[in-house]
Symmetry: C2
Amino acid sequence: MKKVIFFAVMILICDIASAQFRRRRQVEPLPEGYKPASTNTFISQYPAVNALTRQAMFRVSAPYAQIVQVDVGGKKYDMVKDEKGVWACTSDPLVVGFHYYSILIDSVAVMDRGSEAYFGSNWESSGIEIPEGPEGDYYRFNKNIPHGHIRAIDYWSEMNGMERPVNVYVPAEYEKQPGKKYPVLYLVHGWGEDENGWSIQGHMANIMDGLIADGKAVPMIVVMPSGDVKTNSDVRKASGDITEIYINDLIPFIDKTFRTYTDKEYRAMAGLSRGGFQTCLTVFNNMDKFAWMGTFSGFFIRGNDSIENAFNGVFKDAAAFNKGMNLLFISTGTEERTPKEAAEALKKQGINNIVYYESQGTAHEWLTWRRSLYEFAPRIFK
Amino acid sequence: MKKVIFFAVMILICDIASAQFRRRRQVEPLPEGYKPASTNTFISQYPAVNALTRQAMFRVSAPYAQIVQVDVGGKKYDMVKDEKGVWACTSDPLVVGFHYYSILIDSVAVMDRGSEAYFGSNWESSGIEIPEGPEGDYYRFNKNIPHGHIRAIDYWSEMNGMERPVNVYVPAEYEKQPGKKYPVLYLVHGWGEDENGWSIQGHMANIMDGLIADGKAVPMIVVMPSGDVKTNSDVRKASGDITEIYINDLIPFIDKTFRTYTDKEYRAMAGLSRGGFQTCLTVFNNMDKFAWMGTFSGFFIRGNDSIENAFNGVFKDAAAFNKGMNLLFISTGTEERTPKEAAEALKKQGINNIVYYESQGTAHEWLTWRRSLYEFAPRIFK
């Protein structure tokens, strides 16, 4: 019988890569207390995190580079090169949760190969998750409860002149209740992020699954759009205010595609940072369409606006605002510039459906926003 | 009235970034015939592609680097620095479709900031889509037909000791037919890719939407798992053959979670490159569970195996194989090492349900696999 010799390069590559991986891991155990970050690609040992000290260790192989640094949340650390051309450093203790970071190779900021990609600041950035014990239980995967699904969908935007991406979380019970309608929360990412921010960096599905399983939040659909006006190269000149896209293209698409209640009592909107500001712009100009709102690290009153004339005077008639809006949830980290003064001014103005929440010890970062969603979602549609 | 001055740093940043973006675009129009690649982040002008010549132009700002190159599909191009420290080059004509590429800064391969991230070769790589006219119609978004949804789900793997990611495409009609069950295609990515390969690089939703809308393929569920055994740092020692995870953890999860037919006549598996080889390993060892299979650039017979003893002798009894397997679809690009000899040997052995498909002019790349899916999906469950 003729032998069919078909030893594919592919398999060789796999075998070699696999062997190298095993070998590398055997010769270089991580320092005591350190584990590969959960945000790494699955074969990467580094960055490594120490759950006890909350420090991260970084490594980059760059034998010919002159200077290599790592930038974690705006703080730059100089890396030191060993005899093999591998640069290394250890960070200060970091806040629990997710942080964007980049590597600077001869002053060019690039993504670390060891990390998965996390879209932030308008590029695919490296990211690192600092773990901690009980804090994270509400945003980690729980195998003992039912799980909703996040659906990645493209919808057509007439205003934008192209398809736009949107992620839609549907609760675990959705398909088991084919006759039931659901309220909808529109949940927007921050500046330079995209429609995946809440599902990936934010772990929103784990948070919502847990709140719903515990009976703390009502089962709801959560719509996570892209908050940027992206156009393809054929229609780059086309534009459109993001609020208009939400109102005219996205909401009708969602109400047509999912089993939703369309009355304003069943529609909420929230967002983080710039997404919180977009929430204000969208909701305050469409008070007939939303009855609940949240702005996480994103309640800004521009320039010299007073409370009375901010946002086209939406707060001028406090009684009307109170009647039309069941909840104005304003949150912030304690380690960033807080909107406490504005929240108090709103209360003085007679806006009495405000919940002001401070995330202790966190800055303009994802732990603030995971906590904010965890506090906000149980308060809506009730 | 007290003025509430709250001029957030965030808004300043947005305004500045936006102004810079407008300014940059105004002063630097792209050369005639070039457009930003559809694979770019939405603010990136570069890489730019020329649909007519199928060339790509790359740019990298790296004033202090010594050597900067771009590597597109294994071919390295030297970049040339201008007086501002911006490096540039133009590629040779490229095949239509998707290509991974990287930038080398002083010999360190990194991702291009202008690109979205595409997981391949076990890292988050840059990618570039070369457009062409009619060729791509079947894999581009069509606003005039109904669209399925891709659901990003985590399922619990007992073998793996952690949750595992899987993307599941459900056809557009799925929710409008709450009493209907569907056949399931398991579709696996290649070496170093992940569960997003088919949905992002492969545009599988556009392909399936079109085939189903045209009545060429039957409505089906498509399950796209991760083909790597990924474990978290607490259980890194745990392992498990990927076939075992598919059979023991994934298929039961899918059949429990979706409205599926569970008989083998309604279950298919296909994959590209290493995923095609995983398909062979999985299906040939579980002939009671699958009745249709496809291996795209992934049909390898190891070492000195003959057709008769390959894959534990699954082809030895040709009649039994023919009875148990409705379709063995084998595809390849003409510009890669083809499995033509093996396919012919199989036919000589009496395996008569083979379809052998060659993608003209393409290599080990995504256009081969988009075409393969387009050819394969209409042939199953019929």
